[in-house]
Amino acid sequence: MESLRKYLDKIKPNFEEGGKCAKLKSTFEAFESFLFVPNEQTPAKGAHIRDAVDLKRTITVVLIALMPALFFGMWNVGYFHYQMTGEESGLFGNFFYGLVAMLPNIIASYVCGLFLEFMFAQIRKEQVNEGFLATGLLIPMICPVDTPCWMVGIATMFAVLIGKEVFGGTGMNIVNPALLARAFLFFAYPGKMSGDVVWVADYGKTLDLIKNNELPANTIVDGFSGATPLGQLAHDGTTSYSVMDMFLGFIPGSVGETSTLAILIGAVILIWTGIASWKIMLSGVAGVAVMGLLLNACGSEAYTQLPFYYHFILGGFAFGIVFMATDPVTAAQTECGKWVYGFLIGVVAILVRVVNPAFPEGVMLAILLMNVCAPLIDHCVIRANVKRRLNRAKVK
């Protein structure tokens, strides 16, 4: 550590004004503050910072909160792959298979995103922000495991460029960049983002090989289906998975979203550290329950008659409401607005999911829509407050 510090101090003058590599100042600072704490500290007198939570700490907590879902997702990938092939494998076998399958996507997302982040920080002569570290992990977690890594890379670049840098970088974005990347993939390559075969690693490829007679038909276990319970339900209103399977995560799906339990652990970490708003999560859950019950009351098909609590554990709702909707930049800022914002996410998500057969998963669209509406919600809340206080101030 000591030698590293000395080395950094030695090469630092090169990056200062007038130095050899002055153009790469942002890059140097990013690595320096990644390895050590930032060099500039607040003076002992004068500044009144009461809390040590800065962007770096916030992102670190989010990453830690993501770990249960990520590790479980990796295990889940391996589990379903070996279910498909019928091979025996233990806990670690499953996990390592998933790790290897996930790694290209994670690397692609980080490399492409960080490249753009560094480039723009350099051009604008700003510091590189840590914000992307969370986004870069979220993107592969909300995609099916079979998404090719170059698609993840392109989507990441699109999201960073159009979702973030256009508006001025971290903290200025209107919509959640990770969800924008997924939305891009969803509309650009629908064949890779929805359907029944993309959710299990190598399922699509194996099916093709069997069709071309390059592999024997018994490579895939008889009766194996890679469809998500959500896909099954949208198809005929029944699912072959039990409620406990769906809660614990023994279902196919995007890598991070499968286990509601792992996501709940993450939610507890986020709420306990005060990073994410519990109001958004709670009102989101309320929104789903209200919409679910409403559909139960007025619907007649099997799908609309689904008990409302199914919607919490199906698909991406849990992941979306815990990690995506609570993004402090794109969510509503006012306390009252957060209740409305979360509630509407729940309502719209279930509305799209159940009523529109073209979109089996509505959570992504619901959160993106409410991201765009969040400033409007805040505006209304603030106007209402102003009006109430004006009324109170009036002389009777």
Binding site: I162, A188, P190, G191, K192
Partner: protein, 207 residues
């Protein structure tokens, strides 16, 4: 702004006075006809012909048009020209005309045409007006072709309907980007063009 230099009249709309990226006119058709390169080029030529000739005709009769009914006169001229263009396309490129459907007819409502008539042709001599019309039509066309090039290449892997991206890429997992074929992507691409242009030319940036 009095522009005396004739070559500037031709050149300015291509960049610093571009009707799409700087004046932000004619966006609707730019979104609709840029899925493929061929219709985009035909559209660009059609609009260039209409703006050039309309500018010329209005400029020729500018001193005889009563100011009160000038919009009606302009519309008459533009509409006649658009019908002419439409008939020519129907006669010689029937398939393309069908692909462009209503958008040829909608050149009448293209803000660039009326904008140039009002802003330039009514107050200038015929030759500068003609050049201004050609320049603006080309400025519109450049953006159209640029956007259509990107959309057709990445959306379908083709250019002018011929396969450009080799089969080898598809066999190794490359896929066309379906989002490129949706109108929102045209809007985003035009936005990116505006972004790059303003980053490059500081005089275009609003304070």
């Amino acid at each position: 702004m009095a522009q005396t230099n004739n070559s500037e009249l031709l050149k300015n709309p291509l960049n610093l006075q571009n009707p799409i990226t700087v004046q932000v006119l004619g966006i609707c058709s730019a979104l609709a006809v840029t899925v493929k390169l061929e219709p985009a080029i035909v559209m660009a030529i059609s609009v260039t012909v209409v703006t050039a000739l309309a500018n010329l005709i209005i400029s020729l009769i500018r001193n005889t048009i009563p100011s009160r009914i000038r919009i009606i006169v302009q519309l008459m001229v533009v509409a006649s020209l658009v019908i002419l263009v439409d008939q020519v396309l129907k006669a010689f490129m029937y398939e393309l005309d069908k692909a462009l459907s209503v958008y040829i007819g909608l050149i009448i409502t293209n803000c660039i045409v009326m904008g140039r008539l009002e802003a330039f042709a009514l107050g200038n001599k015929p030759l500068p007006a003609l050049l201004d019309g050609i320049g603006n039509g080309l400025g519109y066309g450049v953006i159209l072709v640029l956007v259509a090039l990107v959309r057709e290449l990445f959306g379908t892997g083709q250019l002018f309907g011929c396969q450009v991206i080799p089969d080898w890429c598809y066999e190794h997992g490359y896929a066309n980007c379906g989002f490129m074929l949706n109108p929102p992507m045209a809007l985003i691409l035009i936005g990116v063009v505006i972004w790059i242009q303003r980053a490059k030319f500081a005089e275009l940036q609003e304070k």
